[in-house]
C-alpha cells in the first residue's frame, strides 16, 4: 500500500501505554458484585430449613407417619405431640416431616422433568425451522388451553393414582410454559451477532445451541425454575386436596389439609399447619426469585418527580 512519497495516516504509532488520552483505559473493569436484600436472605433461610427437613426429616421424626399417638381426634398441641394430633390420632409434626419429603420431592422431580422436556423442545422449535416450530407450538397451545386440574383429572382417571402418574401429569402441565419461555429465549438469542458469527464459522446447530445459546439463558431459566417449582407444589397439594393426588395413608401436605379440614370447626390447628408449611415454602422461593429478578432493574423512578 505504500506508494513512495505518500504520507498516509500510518505515523509511528505512539506506545499505547503512555498515551494519556487513551480512552480505553477508562473502561470499567471487574465483574459486578451481587447485592441481595434482606427479603432474599429470609427466603434463602426458610428454603434451606425446608431442604434440611426434606432430607433428614423422616430420620429425625419422633413418630412414624402412620403411628397413632392418641385415641382422640385432634388432640391439642403440646400434650400429645409437638403440634398435636390429627383427625385419627396421628402426630401432626411427624406427618409434616414425612410430608415435606413427599411434597417437595415429587414437585422437584416433576419440575426437573418438565424443564428438560420444555427446554429441549423449546430450543428445537426456535432453531429448527418454520414447520417444526408451528407443529410444536400448536401442540403446546392446545395443552395449555386445557384447565390444568381438568387435564390432571382426565389423566388420573385414565391411568390411576400412582406417584409416577402424578409426576407425569404435573410434568406435562408445567412443561408448557417452560416451552414457551425456552422458545422465546432461543429466538431472541439466535438473532444475536455472536450466533451469526458461529454460524458463519460453520458450527453445527447442536454446538450453537449448547455453547452459544444455552449459557445465555441460564438466568431467566433459573428464575422460571423457582416459579415452576412453587406452582408444582401448589398443584400437587390441590390435587391431593381433591383426593386425586397422593393417596392416604401416605403423608402429603395437601392431603393433610383435606383430611383435617373438619378440625377447623373444633378449633384445631391441624389443617392450618400443613397449609402454612406450603405457604412458607412457596413464599421463600418467590422472595428469592423476586430478588434475583430485581438485580437487573434500573431505577429511573427516582428521577420522576
Amino acid at each position: 500500500m505504500n506508494e513512495p512519497g505518500v504520507t498516509t495516516r500510518n505515523e509511528p504509532r505512539p506506545n499505547r501505554a503512555d498515551d494519556e488520552f487513551d480512552t480505553e483505559r477508562l473502561a470499567i473493569t471487574g465483574p459486578r458484585r451481587l447485592e441481595l436484600g434482606t427479603s432474599a436472605w429470609v427466603g434463602i433461610g426458610i428454603l434451606l430449613l425446608w431442604l434440611f427437613v426434606a432430607f433428614f426429616g423422616p430420620a429425625l421424626s419422633p413418630y412414624d407417619q402412620g403411628e397413632m399417638i392418641s385415641y382422640d381426634s385432634f388432640s391439642p398441641m403440646g400434650e400429645t405431640g409437638l403440634l398435636g394430633g390429627d383427625f385419627i390420632g396421628r402426630d401432626v409434626f411427624s406427618r409434616l416431616l414425612f410430608g415435606a419429603r413427599m411434597t417437595m420431592g415429587l414437585a422437584f422431580i416433576a419440575t426437573v422433568l418438565a424443564f428438560l422436556g420444555g427446554i429441549i423442545l423449546g430450543f428445537t422449535a426456535a432453531a429448527a425451522g418454520e414447520w417444526v416450530d408451528q407443529i410444536l407450538s400448536r401442540i403446546n397451545d392446545a395443552i395449555m388451553a386445557f384447565p390444568s386440574i381438568m387435564l390432571a383429572l382426565i389423566v388420573i382417571a385414565s391411568l390411576g393414582t400412582s406417584t409416577s402418574v402424578l409426576i407425569l401429569t404435573v410434568c406435562l402441565i408445567e412443561a408448557t410454559p417452560v416451552f414457551r419461555l425456552a422458545r422465546a429465549l432461543g429466538m431472541d438469542i439466535s438473532v444475536m451477532d455472536y450466533v451469526e458469527v458461529a454460524r458463519a464459522r460453520g458450527e453445527s446447530v447442536w454446538w450453537i445451541v449448547r455453547r452459544e445459546i444455552f449459557p445465555n439463558t441460564l438466568a431467566p431459566l433459573a428464575a422460571e425454575f423457582g416459579l415452576r417449582y412453587t406452582y408444582s407444589i401448589l398443584f400437587i397439594s390441590a390435587l391431593s386436596f381433591l383426593g386425586l393426588g397422593v393417596q392416604p395413608p401416605q403423608a402429603d401436605w395437601g392431603a393433610m389439609v383435606r383430611e383435617n379440614l373438619m378440625g377447623l370447626t373444633y378449633g384445631s390447628l391441624a389443617p392450618l399447619i400443613p397449609a402454612a408449611a406450603i405457604g412458607s415454602l412457596t413464599i421463600s422461593i418467590n422472595l428469592i426469585v423476586d430478588a434475583f429478578l430485581a438485580l437487573s432493574n434500573r431505577d429511573i423512578s427516582e428521577e420522576m418527580i
Partner: protein
Amino acid sequence: MEEVLRIEHLWVEGRLPGNDYVPIVKDVDFTVRQGEVVALIGESGSGKTTISLAALGYARPGCRISKGRILMGDKNILELSNKEKRELRGRSTAYVAQSAAAAFNPAMTIDYQVTEAPVLHGLMKRREASARAIEIYRRLDLPHPETLGRLYPHQVSGGQLQRLMVAMALSCNPNLLVLDEPTTALDVTTQIEVLTAIKEIIRQQNTAAIYVTHDLAVVAQIADRILVLFDGKVQEHGTTGQIVGHPSHPYTLKLMRAVRPVPKTTLSVSDSQKPEEQSAGQPLLRVKDLTAGYGRIKKKVVLRDVCIDVPPGTVVGVIGESGCGKSTLARVIAGLLPPISGEMSLAGHALRPKIKMRSKKELQRVQIVFQMPDVALNPRQRIRDILGRPLEFYMGLSSSHRKQRVHELLEMVELSRNLLPRYPGELSGGQKQRVNLARALAAEPDLILCDEVTSSLDTLVGAAVIDLLNNLQEQLNLAYMFISHDLSTVASFADTIVVLYAGRVVEQGPLQSVIAPPHHPYTRLLLSSIPELRPGWLEDVIKSREAMTAISHAVEIIDVGCPFFKRCAMAMTGICDLQNPPLRTPVSDHQIFCHRDIADLQKAAVEP
C-alpha cells in the same frame, strides 16, 4: 447579550457497582448567552451528555450532581424544589435527544407529544398549541405540515422525526435549548437538512443553545464557542474560529486529525501510477450479477445485479447509506444468506451460496467482523475461549498450541494478556472490537469482511482500529471488503471504492478515480455532504444543493430504471426512470452507471 445559563464548578458523580461513587464531571465552568450556541465536544466518557443534562437539573439513574451551581436567571437550578424543576423543564429549557425514534412515545400521536409541554405548563390551549406547531413544522421544512401531527412516530422517516423533536423542543419557546448529538444517528445526506433547520431556527428564535457532539466538523458549522472535554474536564475552550483554526491542546489536535483523515488521493504522487495489485491473476473474490433479498415466498429484493472484484491483498471500500444493502452483501458473501441469483467465486473456484455447502477451508478463507462489539461477542464466554474456538475448529490445534497462538493474536491486535480470563462485559468498546478482529484473524483468512466495524466506536477509538487494520493488512497481505457509510474514513484506507445505492452499484473504481470527477450524481452528493472543518461550509453546500435539488427522499428500491432518479438533479424523465442506466467507463477500471454521458458528468462537477 444577556447570560442565560451559568455553570460554576460543576461536579457530577457516577455510581459503581458496590455503591462507591466516582467523579465523572470534574469542576466544569461555562456560560451560555442568548442567541449563542456553545458546543461540548468529546468522546464517550467525557461527560458531555452528563453536563448537558445537568443544565436541566437532571441526572441519569446512577449519577448524582454533587457540587456546583447552575444558574438560570438568578436561580440555582440545583436548589429548586421538584415542582419548580418540573416547571422549568419543557418551558424555559428544552431537550433534543440523540435518537428521535427512541425519544418519541410510539403509542401517542406526534401532535399530542409536540403540544404536550406548552399545554401542560399552561401556556396555551391545545388548539392554539397545535396551530403553533404547524407553524414550526413549516419553518423546519417538513412535508405536509397540516396533517403531519396526526401521524404516529413510526410513520415518519428518521430525518423528519429528528426535526419534529426540534419542533417539540421549541414549542414552548424556551430560553435554553440542549441538543444531544441530534444528527449523529442520521445519514450524511440527511444530516445537512437537519443541521440547516436547527441553525436557522435557533437564529430566528434567538435561543441559547448547548450542542453536544463528537464531530468537530459539524460543530464548526453551528457553534459560536467550543468546549473540548475529556475525562470529565474541560481541556480547551474558545470561539469556533480559534479552536478550528488554531487548536493548541494536544487532545484537540488528536481529535481534529481523527475527524477528517487525509484521503490517500490528495497526497498521491502521480495519476498514472496504477495500483500494482492489479497484476495478472484472478481476483480473490468475484461477485457476479448478485441479486439478494429477504422474505419467504415473495422476496423483498435488497441487492440487484451487483458485480464486484476483490483482488488479493487489496482493500475494497463499499460505501452506501442506510438501506443500500451493504450489510446484506457481506452476509451473502459469508454464506449467511443465500442469494436469489448470481455467482460468487473465491480464487477462481465457485463459492457455494450456503455455509453447509462450503468446505471448512473455504469458510476459513473468508471471515466476517460485525459492527456492534457488544453483541458480536458472547457475553458468557471468556476471551480466551472466544479466541480459542476458531483455532480448535479450523485447525484442530492442541491446547498448548492454542494458548500460544492466542497470545500471538492478542499481540497482533495490541491487547494485553490480562484480558484473557475476562468476560466481554468487562471490556471497552474498542477492546471488544479488537477481540472481534482477532477472532477473525485466528482463522488465517485471505479476506475479511468488515461490516461497519468502526461505526459504533468513538472517533479516536475507531481511528486506532483503522490504523490497526491498515498495519495488519500490510503485514499479512490481507484483503478487506470494508463496508461503511463514512466516505472519509474509507477514502483514507481503501484502494478501490464501490458506491451502492438502493441495492445497485452506481459507481466503482480506484480510489483516485472515484473521488475526482466525473462522478455519478449520487457520489457527488455524498462527497459534498461530508462536513468540512471550516465555518461557512454549510451555507455553501446549501446553495449548491439547491442547484442539485437533492430533496430528501427515502431510498426506494425499484426494479427498472435508475434508483437515484427521484433525487437526481440531472435526471431525464422518460429515460432515467424507465431504462436501466448503461455503463460508462471514463478510464478503464472506473465504472459509472448513468444515462448522462461522461462529458455531462464532468461539467456538473465543475459548477458550484
